[in-house]
C-alpha cells in the first residue's frame, strides 16, 4: 500500500530487502546510490590508469610501460573512463538522482521506470566499452580524432559504441530531471524558491538533452566510417576530418558544462548553509547558470584554433569564449559576497567548497588565457591544456562532488563520518592536487607536448614533482573511501539535519522514508533564509 512507509522507523534502506529489491528498484534514492557505486568503481579504475601514466612520466625514457603504444592506451582509457563514465554522470546521476526529488518535495522523479532503464543503459554501455580492455586496447585518446580513429587496428568500434550507448542514459536522466522540476514541485515551491542546486541541474539537463544527441550521431558516423567506410570523415574517400572535430566539440564543449554546472550548484547550496546567511545574488546565480549553458553552445571552435578554420572563425570563437568568464565571475563573486560577514563553519563540505573556489578559479582563468588565439597557438597540445582541464574537472567538479558527498552523506545513510579524518583527507587531496597539476602549467609554457610517453631531460624536475603529487592525491582518496566506509558501519547517528540546512531534503528523517516525506511538504519561503545563528539551532529541523 502507498502509505505503508509512514510506519515509524521505516526508511528506504530497510523498506524492502535482498539484492533483487535493489536491482529492480524504482526508488530514485536507491538508483542514485547504485549509480554512485558504479561510478566510484570506475573512478578507481580511471585513477589506477592515471597513477600508471604519472609513473611512466616520473623520468625520461620508459619506466613502466613496455612501449609508447601501451602508454597511449593507458591515457586513452584514463581519459575516456574519467570523462564519459565518471565526471559526466557523477553529480547529476548519483547525487542528483538522490537529492532532486527530495529538494522539490516529490516522492520520486517523473518517470521512475525510465530512471532505472537509464541506469542499466549506462551500465551496458560501460561494459561494452570496458570489454575492449580484454580484447584489443584502444589508443586514440578520448577525443577519437579522425582519421587516426578510423585506421587504428584496435577495437575502437566497441569503445565508440559504448560511449554511444551511455549517451542515451545521459539523455534519459536529463529528460527525467527537466520534467520532474516542471511538474512535481511541492505546493509553494515557486521557481524563485528553487534551490540553486536544482537550477544547476535543470540547466545541466537542458545541455545534456541538446548536446548529447549530436555526440550520438557523431559516434555513429564514426562507427560506420570504421565498419563500412562511408567517407564522411575520411579524407581518403573525400570526407572531412575537421568536420569530425566540429561535431565532436559541439558536444564536448557543452559537456564540460555538463560537468561543472552541477558542481557550481553544489557549492551554491553549501556556502549559504555554512555561512548562516542568505545567498547573495540568488537571481544572478540562477541567470548566470543559464548564461553559461547558452554560451556553452557557441564556443566549441576554441578547441580548433589550429585546425585550419578561418581567421574570422577564430576571432569569433575567441571572443565568445571569453564571454563565459562573465557569468562565471558573477557566480564566484556572489559566493564570496555570501560568505562576507557570515558566521562561517568550516566543516568538511565547506572546506571542499573553499578548495573549489580556489582551484576552479585558477582553472577558469587559464581557460581565458587559452581563449586568446595568439596564446593558444603556443599552448595548445601542451601540458598547459592538460593542467587547465584538470583544474576545472578535478579541481572543479571532483572537489564539488566531494563537498556534496560529505554534505549529503548523513542524509544518504543517517550516519556521520569522522570529521577529523575527513579534513585530513581533504587537505591531502587539495594539496596533492595542486602539487600534481600546477607544475604542468609551467611544463606547458616551457613547451612540453601532451600525450607522449617520453620527454626531454630538462622537463624531469617538474614531472617528478607532479608524479609525487599524484601519490598524495591517491592516498587522499583512499582515506576518504575508508573514512566513509567506516562511518557506514560505525558512524554516529546524524539526526535529520546535522547542518541546520533549510532545503526540503533536510526536513525529513535520515535516512529518508521510502516515499521521502512523512507528509507532503509545503514551502513558505526561499531555500536560504538563514537568519544569523538562529537557524543553527535547527529551528526548522
Amino acid at each position: 500500500m502507498a502509505n505503508s512507509s509512514t510506519a515509524h522507523g521505516d526508511n528506504y534502506l530497510n523498506h524492502s530487502h535482498g539484492l533483487k529489491s535493489w536491482l529492480f528498484t524504482l526508488d530514485h534514492k536507491r538508483i542514485g546510490l547504485m549509480y554512485l557505486f558504479v561510478i566510484l568503481a570506475m573512478f578507481l579504475m580511471g585513477g589506477v590508469f592515471a597513477l600508471l601514466v604519472r609513473w611512466e612520466l616520473f623520468a625520461p625514457g620508459m619506466q613502466f610501460f613496455s612501449s609508447p603504444n601501451t602508454y597511449n592506451q593507458a591515457f586513452t582509457y584514463h581519459g575516456a573512463i574519467m570523462v564519459f563514465m565518471v565526471v559526466i554522470p557523477l553529480i547529476p546521476a548519483a547525487i542528483g538522482n538522490f537529492v532532486l526529488p527530495m529538494q522539490i518535495g516529490a516522492k520520486d522523479v517523473a518517470f521512475p521506470r525510465w530512471n532505472l532503464v537509464s541506469y542499466y543503459v549506462y551500465l551496458f554501455g560501460l561494459i561494452v566499452a570496458a570489454s575492449t580492455l580484454f580484447i584489443n586496447k584502444v589508443d586514440t585518446g578520448w577525443t577519437f580524432y579522425a582519421p587516426y580513429s578510423i585506421r587504428t587496428g584496435t577495437s575502437a568500434t566497441l569503445v565508440l559504441l559504448g560511449a554511444f550507448i551511455m549517451g542515451f542514459s545521459s539523455i534519459l536522466t536529463g529528460l527525467n530531471f527537466i520534467v520532474s522540476i516542471h511538474k512535481l514541485r511541492a505546493p509553494g515551491l515557486t521557481w524563485d524558491r528553487l534551490p540553486l542546486f536544482l537550477w544547476a541541474l535543470y540547466a545541466t539537463s537542458i545541455v545534456q538533452v541538446l548536446a548529447t544527441p549530436v555526440l550520438a550521431i557523431t559516434l555513429l558516423l564514426l562507427i560506420l566510417e570504421r565498419t563500412i567506410g562511408i567517407g564522411i570523415f575520411d579524407p581518403k574517400l573525400g570526407g572531412d576530418p575537421v568536420l569530425f572535430q566540429h561535431f565532436f566539440w559541439f558536444y564536448s564543449h557543452p559537456a564540460v558544462y555538463i560537468m561543472v554546472l552541477p558542481a557550481m550548484g553544489v557549492i551554491s547550496d553549501i556556502i549559504p548553509t555554512f555561512s548562516r546567511k542568505p545567498i547573495f545574488g540568488y537571481k544572478a546565480i540562477a541567470a548566470a547558470t543559464f548564461g553559461i549553458a547558452l554560451v556553452a553552445f557557441v564556443v566549441w571552435g576554441h578547441h580548433m584554433f589550429v585546425s585550419g578554420q578561418s581567421e574570422f572563425a577564430n576571432f569569433v570563437f575567441s571572443f565568445l569564449t571569453m564571454l563565459v568568464a562573465v557569468p562565471t565571475g558573477v557566480k564566484v563573486f556572489s559566493w564570496l559576497a555570501t560568505m562576507y560577514k557570515g558566521s562561517l563553519r568550516m566543516d568538511t563540505p565547506m572546506l571542499y567548497a573553499f578548495g573549489f573556489l580556489f582551484v576552479f578559479t585558477i582553472g577558469g582563468l587559464t581557460g581565458v588565457f587559452l581563449a586568446v588565439v595568439s596564446v593558444d597557438v603556443h599552448l595548445t597540445a601542451t601540458y598547459f591544456v592538460v593542467a587547465h582541464f584538470h583544474y576545472v574537472m578535478v579541481g572543479g567538479t571532483l572537489l564539488a562532488f566531494l563537498a556534496g558527498l560529505h554534505y549529503w552523506f548523513p542524509k544518504f545513510c543517517g550516519k556521520m563520518y569522522n570529521e577529523g579524518t575527513s579534513k585530513v583527507a581533504a587537505w591531502l587531496i587539495m594539496v596533492g592536487f595542486n602539487v600534481t597539476f600546477f607544475p604542468q602549467f609551467i611544463l606547458g609554457v616551457l613547451g612540453m607536448p601532451r600525450r607522449y610517453a617520453d620527454y626531454l631531460p630538462q622537463f624531469e624536475q617538474l614531472n617528478r614533482i607532479s608524479t609525487i603529487g599524484s601519490w598524495f592525491l591517491g592516498v587522499g582518496f583512499v582515506i576518504v573511501a575508508w573514512n566513509l566506509a567506516k562511518a557506514l558501519k560505525y558512524g554516529e547517528k546524524s539526526g535529520p539535519n546535522p547542518w541546520g540546512a533549510l532545503t526540503l531534503e533536510w526536513q525529513t528523517p535520515s535516512p529518508p522514508p521510502h516515499e521521502n516525506f512523512l507528509k507532503e511538504p509545503v514551502v513558505t519561503e526561499g531555500p536560504y533564509e538563514y537568519r544569523g545563528e538562529k537557524a543553527l539551532m535547527g529551528s526548522n529541523a
Partner: protein, 221 residues
Amino acid sequence: MAHGTGAVSHLERHHAHHFKNGHEEFEACKQGMWIFLVTEVLFFSGMFVAYAVLRVFYPDMMHDVHHHKILDWRMGALNTVVLITSSWTMARAVSSSQRGEHKNTVGFLWATLLLAGVFLVVKYFEYSHKIHEHILPGAQYAYEGLTTAKVPIFMSVYFVMTGIHGLHVVIGMGIIYYLIRRANRNEFGPKYFTPVEITGLYWHFVDLVWIYLFPLLYLVG
C-alpha cells in the same frame, strides 16, 4: 492496486502514485515526449549539417546524382504521400481514443500501421535496386554506370539518413502495434489516452523528417 496485472480498463485506471492526479501524469508524459523529440531533432541535425557541408564542398556531386537519376523521385513522392496519409490516420486514432470511440481507435491504428508497412515496402524496393547495382555508400560503391569520385559520399548520406529514418519507422510500428493490443483491451478513453497521444507526437515527427529528406535527397539538384 491493480497495476500491471493484466487488462485495466480506462475506467478503473489509476495514475502512478507519485503524481497527484491523472492530469499531472498526462502533462508530464507529454512534456517528456516533446523533450525527447527535441533530442531527435538534434540527432538528425548532425546529418543535415553533414549533408549541407558536403554539398558546399562538392557542388557537382548533387548535379551528377540528379543527372544520372540515381534516385527515383517517383518512389520518394509515393512514400511522401503514404506517410502524410499515415499522419492523418494517426491523428484520427488520437482523437478517437480521446472520445472513447473504441472501434475507430483500433481501426485507425491499424491503418497507420499498414501505411507504415507500405512505406517500408517501397523503401525495400529502392534499397534492393541500389544494392543490386552496387550503388552503395563510400568505400562499398561499385556502380559501373557512374564513376565520379563524389557520388559514393552522397550515397553514404542517403543511406545513413534514410536508414536511420527507416529505423524510426520500424520502432514506431512496434509501438503502434503495442497500442493496438492495449486498445483492444479497452484501456483508452476520455480519462486516459496518454500513450496514444504521445505516440502520435512521435509519429508526426517521423513524418516531418521525411518531408525534409524527400526534397533534399530526391529533388534538389
